[in-house]
């Protein structure tokens, strides 16, 4: 039995126990919008990951800043981590680079594998190295943007392939 199957079994038990205490019923879990239309003809709005805040810790130099991006699910359903956010720039300057612990990547990662990100949940971006692994425990990362002012696009993608582009600047 895979860990996923075990999780399903335990979740079923949890659901039944929840029912015993007269919970509100069994809630949707995960991106049900991917299946609700084809299975039941029901249109649903799924998860919607948007930039909630950008913490600019320090201007390291004229074209570099140490930042932490926080994403929030403002949609109506959940999705799962990890969500990978790729930074790009709307400026005509060179592409930004994200540095974390001296590793270079244009990608930050939000949430852990298997973590359900429910509506209203916020997840903090972490720096990843060139292999996509989280550089822990340093949450903040250095963005080199090579422009007088940085205007960025963060394109977040969840494990199901759903993408949410959002912009920010500092």
């Amino acid at each position: 039995m895979t860990s996923g199957a075990k999780r399903r079994g335990l979740s079923g038990l949890g659901c039944l126990l929840g029912l015993v205490v007269m919970a509100a019923g069994c809630a949707d879990r995960g991106p049900t919008n991917l299946y609700s239309k084809s299975l039941f003809g029901v249109n649903q709005q799924g998860a919607n990951m948007a930039v909630d805040s950008v913490l600019n810790y320090a201007n390291i130099s004229g074209n570099e800043s140490e930042i932490v991006v926080v994403l929030k699910n403002i949609g109506q359903h959940s999705t799962y981590g990890p969500i990978y956010g790729v930074l790009s720039s709307t400026d005509s300057c060179a592409s930004p680079e994200v540095f974390g612990n001296n590793q270079v990547s244009a990608t930050a990662v939000f949430g852990n594998r298997g973590q359900e990100i429910k509506p209203g949940d916020s997840v903090v971006g972490e720096a990843v190295d060139g292999y996509g692994d989280v550089v822990s425990p340093n949450y903040s990362y250095v963005v080199a943007y090579y422009c007088p002012k940085g205007n960025f696009i963060l394109t977040a993608t969840d494990p199901f392939g759903t993408t949410w582009p959002d912009g920010f600047s500092f």
Partner: protein
């Protein structure tokens, strides 16, 4: 045919009169009852632990009279005195007992002919049969007044009528016979006392715990048209159940069905439960029907190989349901046939039809 029956009815008292001719004098009531109880006490009935004494009626009219109550009281006292069986009190639901002692009487020319029999509550099998006769000198005319009940000493002593609390029991001809307060008239196989279903106590009696466990097959017929066209119109499922006093029913359901034409979706698995609060009506010692509202709570799990390991997509499918069913008792075990219909639901409702076997720890 009716004429033949009429002829027999007309001559039956005369035939009985011949049987009760001088030289064949009837004994007294108390001695006759002693004799009958002694015969009953020698019956071979090892499976009987508890006994209900109820349902004596006039043989011809199938109606009750105060005499019936006195006979039941007399037999009940004697059986209790013998100490062989636990005897239910007057008014207790007879279906809670292992066996039922009931019978009929005929009165002719000063003699009462009483037939009694003990039947197994589970299957209606006759375990013992006995008869006696005695003089009616110990009784007044009022004791044999059909349909006019006068309370016995253990019901409060003074006269009471149907208006004073007795329930009504419908007879085959549409007549309504007053029933003693608290008295439950049982239906046993072969006895033609058609009682109204509502005359049975709907809830379990103190003599009956009423906790049962069941397992069975459940057929799910989805109501959602998209689901019907994209997945299936019928799903075979498995169910485990619990019941409390035939009033609170809980089912835990499981089904799985394959999906072939929606992306990489492989199958769907439903894990859920439904809870129902039903009103049981006992139509006899072996049959209970019930109906009521309830709720269905569950998840339809999406089994998609492309889903990242550890992630699960579950559609919470909850509903408000109506339930109707019947339980057939074969001893402590039995069969439960149940139908449900989803009145409101999240994604899809169902017609469900289930057939299960159960074991009742309260019988």
């Amino acid at each position: 045919m009716n004429r033949c029956l009429g002829f027999l009815k007309a001559w039956m008292p005369a035939a009985l009169l011949l049987l009760a001719a001088p030289g064949w004098a009837a004994p007294g009531y108390q001695a006759a009852l002693d004799q009958l109880a002694a015969s009953l006490g020698a019956a071979q009935a090892p499976s009987v632990g508890s006994l209900a004494v109820a349902g004596f009626v006039d043989r011809q009219t199938h109606r009750r009279s105060p005499f019936c109550v006195k006979v039941e009281e007399g037999l009940r006292d004697r059986i209790i005195g013998a100490g062989r069986w636990r005897v239910l009190r007057a008014g207790q639901d007879p279906s809670g007992a292992d066996a039922l002692l009931s019978g009929t009487y005929t009165r002719s020319a000063g003699t009462v002919f009483l037939d009694a029999r003990m039947t197994d509550s589970a299957d209606g099998r006759v375990l013992w049969r006995g008869s006696t006769r005695f003089s009616d000198a110990d009784f007044g005319a009022a004791d044999f007044t059909l349909g006019a009940y006068q309370a016995g000493p253990d019901q409060g002593g003074s006269a009471a009528s149907a208006d004073a609390g007795g329930q009504a029991v419908a007879q085959g001809g549409g007549q309504v016979v007053p029933q003693e307060p608290g008295q439950v008239v049982p239906t046993m196989p072969g006895q033609v006392v058609p009682t109204m279903p509502g005359s049975y106590s709907p809830f379990y009696s103190p003599a009956r715990l009423g906790l049962d466990f069941s397992a069975g097959y459940k057929l799910f017929l989805p109501l959602n048209s998209t689901f019907q066209s994209q997945v299936t119109t019928a799903i075979n499922g498995f169910t485990l159940g619990m019941g409390f006093g035939d009033v609170l029913l809980m089912d835990f359901d499981l089904w799985n069905t394959s999906v072939s034409n929606i992306g990489t979706l492989d199958s769907l698995t439903y894990v859920g439960s439904d809870f129902s609060l039903v009103w049981p009506v006992r139509l006899g010692p072996a049959l209970t029907v019930y109906a009521g509202p309830g709720g269905r709570f569950g998840w339809i799990q999406v089994n998609d190989p492309s889903t990242p390991d550890g992630d699960q997509v579950d559609l919470g499918n909850n509903g408000f349901i109506a339930v109707a069913g019947a339980k057939l008792y074969l001893g402590a075990a039995g069969l439960d046939l149940r139908y449900t219909y989803d009145l409101a639901y999240s994604y899809t409702g169902y017609h469900t039809l289930s057939l299960g076997v159960f074991y009742d720890f309260g019988r």
